[in-house]
Symmetry: C2
Subunit: 337 residues, 2 copies
């Protein structure tokens, strides 16, 4: 059963700073979606609200195609196949995840989607969190790029965020000393009491820089989700042969001007390494990551807090929340049951 109409939210004009009311437009279209050869029609249930969405609103080359003007905002989501075209390996009823958009329904090539298998102790939203692209990003970034070792000092920025909180837990499971940076006292308490980090630091505190430096001395690995001034400061705290994993740069996605870095010379002084990465390079190894994450979750060592916002119409608001830090845990937009 499909409706007579469906809603979607399209990009009207590319923002030059934070998104506002002129960036998007919601539209209601007559339902004329029909899967072609190799395609499927998907009814969207949950959409992942990630900082990277903001990056995809700019017309720049990045890890994937940017959102086009007039098209629904590109994002990762989970939904159910309601109709399957000829030669599609998926069948109606299959729950799938993949790149979709801010829309209630979508027709796309079946091969772009992965069937979601939810373990007993998990929830369907985990496919967009701890067991999905977020968990996999944390896993490959920390284990494969960062090569965290037991006993090392791991520093994580935006540590109470979706990726950060999983990185902290993976680090703890590997036997690292884990220090988290977050933007409120409440987030720091969550990190220390629920996530179990060694210590958390509120970057809005006036004594943040001295307190962090004094406590950790230096780090072996910095997993950075923030960029900008946070990254520049962290570069002053590197141990010899330290590694910096550039995962995200949430402080900069809304800026038109790039924040300069001045402490990169420390990379030479400390014979240290700074490396950018994207999950896109790990597609052939996703199964390995999923298995590891599911096992850790089964052992009770991997938990993700979800912050669910209801209704497609609230997608722009949800995106904005990421940049003010209002969300508590991984932001998910619930489009339908």
């Amino acid at each position: 059963m499909t409706p007579s109409h469906y809603n979607r939210i399209i990009l009207v004009q590319r923002p030059t700073g934070p998104v506002d009311s002129s960036t998007f437009r919601q539209e209601t279209l007559p339902f004329d979606l029909k899967p072609g050869d190799g395609q499927v029609l998907i009814r969207i249930q949950y959409l992942s609200v990630d900082p990277a969405l903001r990056m995809l609103l700019d017309d720049i080359k990045s890890f994937t195609t940017p959102t086009q003007i007039g098209e629904p905002v590109r994002c990762i989501g989970v939904g159910t196949v309601v109709e399957s075209g000829k030669n599609s390996p998926l069948v109606p009823g299959d729950i799938v995840s993949g790149f979709v958009g801010w829309t209630e329904y979508v027709v796309a090539d079946a091969e772009q989607f992965t069937k979601v298998v939810v373990p007993d102790d998990a929830n369907i939203v985990d496919a967009l969190g701890a067991l999905g692209h977020i968990g996999l990003t944390a896993y490959f970034g920390l284990i494969d790029v960062g090569k965290i070792q037991a006993g090392e000092t791991l520093l994580v920025s935006a540590a109470a965020g979706a990726t950060g909180s999983l990185v902290c837990q993976l680090g703890l499971a590997k036997g690292a000393k884990v220090y988290g940076i977050a933007g409120s006292q409440a987030k720091c308490e969550y990190l220390e009491k629920t996530v179990g980090v060694t210590k958390a630091f509120n970057y809005k505190s006036p004594t943040f820089h001295e307190a962090l430096a004094k406590e950790i001395g230096g780090f072996d690995l910095f997993f950075d989700n923030v960029g900008g001034d946070m990254l520049d400061f962290a570069l002053t705290l590197m141990n010899t042969h330290a590694r910096v994993v550039l995962c995200g740069s949430i402080s900069e996605y809304n800026s038109t001007q790039l924040k300069p870095l001045t402490n990169h010379v420390q990379l030479r002084m400390k014979r240290a390494k700074m490396e950018g990465f994207s999950l896109i390079d790990y597609l052939p190894r996703l199964a390995e990551g999923k298995q590891y994450l599911a096992e850790l979750m089964k052992q009770g060592k991997l938990k993700q807090q979800y912050h669910i916002v209801n209704g497609l119409e609230n997608a722009p608001k949800a995106l904005g929340m990421l940049f003010t830090g209002e969300n508590k845990g991984k932001l998910i937009l619930k489009v339908a049951d």
Copy 2:
């Protein structure tokens, strides 16, 4: 036979920018040097004039101890053992290299020195160049840190300099396409005609940026000896998974203010890596490097141009030449025959 007096040049005060006449003082001392237990007395013949000397005039933590006020400027040199203390493994007549200073004679622990073995087709100054710390820096930086592969595009800054010209030759020997950046038309011609790089670019040319970008498109590996604006520009030319090896930063050693980097976000976009290194981490593997370099030299594929300045009293002038780019090839100070 030792003289009644000897000369040395000491650091009088730490410079805040380029060195000047108030930075150093030459002094003549009565000869009272006597090697103690495990020590040797060395008569200095050649001193290596390297950009890193400038860094060692600042009181900062780096790869080795900075020069102390009142002490001869620390540098690497080659000399002959004239007297050997008890329990020293070296004997008079041994030619050795190691950290010495701007002085005609020095007494130091024998274990800090390496016996120089000059292959048939090499010269004693090669121990301070292609077969010494310069060649080894080029070798480990390019092969071990940079992991250059045949067919890749290698970009080298200060390519006509001591390290740069060896990096170019090692890259060519590995089958890379090698592009050099230098500061004059004459240096570019030397790179193209003598060193044999694919193409060289004069960074003082008004069309430098566009010409380089157009010619190479993007690089797989950038071996940077310059830092500052050159590094920032290069970050806009990275191929996906590019590597940047931070070897030196000659544009910045004389500055009191650090040059900001703005294009480091490209590291994330391109899933690229920027890594600092120092030869100090490769001490256990020097023999491997020396063997490789000597073999390449034997095959005629590794040549170093030397620029010899005569007389200890000209050491400050020689150091200055590095920063104006006046030198043609590896700068060596000849103290004695």
